[in-house]
Symmetry: C2
Subunit: 333 residues, 2 copies
């Protein structure tokens, strides 16, 4: 069977997609050193730089969030693969500055390994860099060792919060504290209805029976253990928001942001239906939701499903969410 | 087979999705009279209002483009169905003003019928309203009667241009002229790789053999006549941009905007690869592309495919594209 994707030579997908993204949004981003996406107009060196890394095939993440008020740079890997440590180090060298760099790493083995090596090498070279690791997937449990928790789409609202703080000229310790506090108060849970195909080798990822769905699936199809018959949108929303509320510790009177991140084939139509129910359940508990997002932020090819992301927000986080942003896929004015 | 969608009672999809969208983006939009989406904060009555209409199931279109610098109101129909004339008339009454209203109608039989009746009734009531009809699908031919051409995703950049003109306080005749000039210089061509399922009745729309694609398919799966074996991204881009250039009359030295509108399951990854080639072909001909869009604007459920939209821009259109916009799914700052 021919793969039903619009592609050329599979070996060139990452190169071509980065060229296309930076051509399309040339007013916001540009491509340097082949796999590093940076802002079209860099911000003042007097401010802390925010850098992240990750495999491609998850568009718009991660490179689509480079821009004013968000990331300064994204280091792209091949499809579903972490970039190598030398490429991450290259990016850190590009953004070397007295104010320092915050490197955001999603908790996946390859990303952690590259980030750790690049961090050590950069620090040896006198580059000031601090790392924030996202590990907010609660599919394996809420109270387990964070090292066992994957980083899913929750990195995107984190980029927004610390990107805005950096833009305001806060120092690296302040930004680190804001980011880690945000991190501890957010959680993600994913659900899948169908698998998808790896765009390079055509391999089928995560087969699901015709009448089943799976809560807890990772963003490369990793099993989450929560298989069931297909539930309604409201049942699904209820089943997901309850553990997310528990994990974030959100309670009556708190502000929270709810994001429904479509991972591929699931329509916005469905995401809105799910959002509506989850937001209603939050409201029932007295939680005040600030404006949220239903959109594709971090995707898994043409998989049907979504990640529900709940962020408990402190007052400073609420303000940082409202600040100007101008990346290709998150714009606030 | 159970439908692989997150839904509740199929009869309530439209109601629930509109509730979800307006809950999520409560800072930008709100729902009135059940199926009319309006801005959270209305603009000055001294300015021309821009209203559009259309069936749901194509999210984010059309209601996701209500907001500052874009639409004032969207009148939503049921899934894949035009809203009735009485509901359109209700929206026109809500926005009655001396400055007048521009109603944008996509050329589909149901939408035209409702819009025509509502227009006549509104005019009888002394409501000042002018209509712009989009009919830019070139799949049936470039030089055929415009009445035979469907309105596809090209309505979205039109909303941007006339929405910005209205925000600047231009009068209704000026906005109408800007819009019609934009309309004549833009064209859309769609391509599909897979069909999709109707979310209410589970009916399969547009079956395509495993190794085939179809250029020219309409947004409800209407046949376009351009079936072929699956082509590469570059071949597809070349085959689509050539007739679009012919239809828009774009030539060396002209400015143009290129949009790749994903209709469902096709990834942004693929859209970027296609954009890159189409933009390169425009550059080869000396056309200057302004920043474009790769995203899902007007979708067809979980169909794999995209619409390529090419807009030849006059200098005033270029400026209007850059103006501030603040709708849920098109934001410029």
């Amino acid at each position: 069977m021919a793969m039903k994707k619009f592609l050329n030579d599979p070996a060139n997908i990452t190169k071509e997609l980065l060229e296309g993204m930076t051509a399309c949004y040339s007013n916001k981003v540009k491509l340097v050193n082949e796999k590093i996406v940076v802002r079209a107009a860099p911000k003042c060196e007097c401010k802390v730089a925010i850098v992240s890394l990750g495999g491609t095939g998850h568009e718009p993440a991660i490179s689509g969030f480079v821009g004013e008020g968000m990331l300064d740079a994204s280091v792209a890997g091949d499809i579903f693969a972490a970039p190598g440590a030398p490429k991450v180090l290259e990016a850190l060298r590009l953004f070397k500055r007295e104010a320092g760099i915050i490197l955001v790493t999603l908790n996946h083995a390859g990303d952690r390994m590259s980030a750790n090596k690049a961090l050590r090498d950069a620090q040896k070279e006198g580059i000031k860099v601090m790392e924030i690791v996202t590990q907010e997937d609660i599919s394996a449990g809420i109270d387990i060792d964070p090292e066992e928790k994957r980083g899913l789409g929750g990195c995107i609202p984190l980029f927004k919060v610390i990107g805005a703080a950096a833009e305001q000229g806060k120092n690296i310790d302040e930004i680190y504290e804001i980011g880690q506090r945000f991190n501890k108060q957010m959680a993600t849970l994913a659900v899948a209805m169908t698998g998808c195909t790896h765009p390079q080798n055509g391999g089928v990822i995560a087969v699901l029976p015709e009448d089943e769905m799976e809560i807890g699936m990772g963003q490369h199809g990793e099993a989450g253990g929560g298989r069931s018959k297909i539930l309604t949108a409201d049942e699904t929303a209820a089943k997901m928001i309850a553990p997310l509320m528990k994990a974030t510790g959100v309670k009556a009177g708190d502000a929270a942001m709810l994001i429904v991140n479509g991972v591929g084939a699931t329509t916005l139509m469905e995401m809105f239906v799910v959002y509506r129910k989850a937001a209603a359940l939050l409201a029932e508990k007295g939680v005040k939701t600030v404006p949220g997002i239903c959109d594709e932020l971090l995707t898994v090819q043409e998989m049907a499903g979504f990640q529900m992301i709940l962020c408990k927000l402190d007052p400073d986080h609420v303000e940082l969410m409202k600040a100007t942003a101008n990346s290709p896929y998150w714009t606030v004015n």
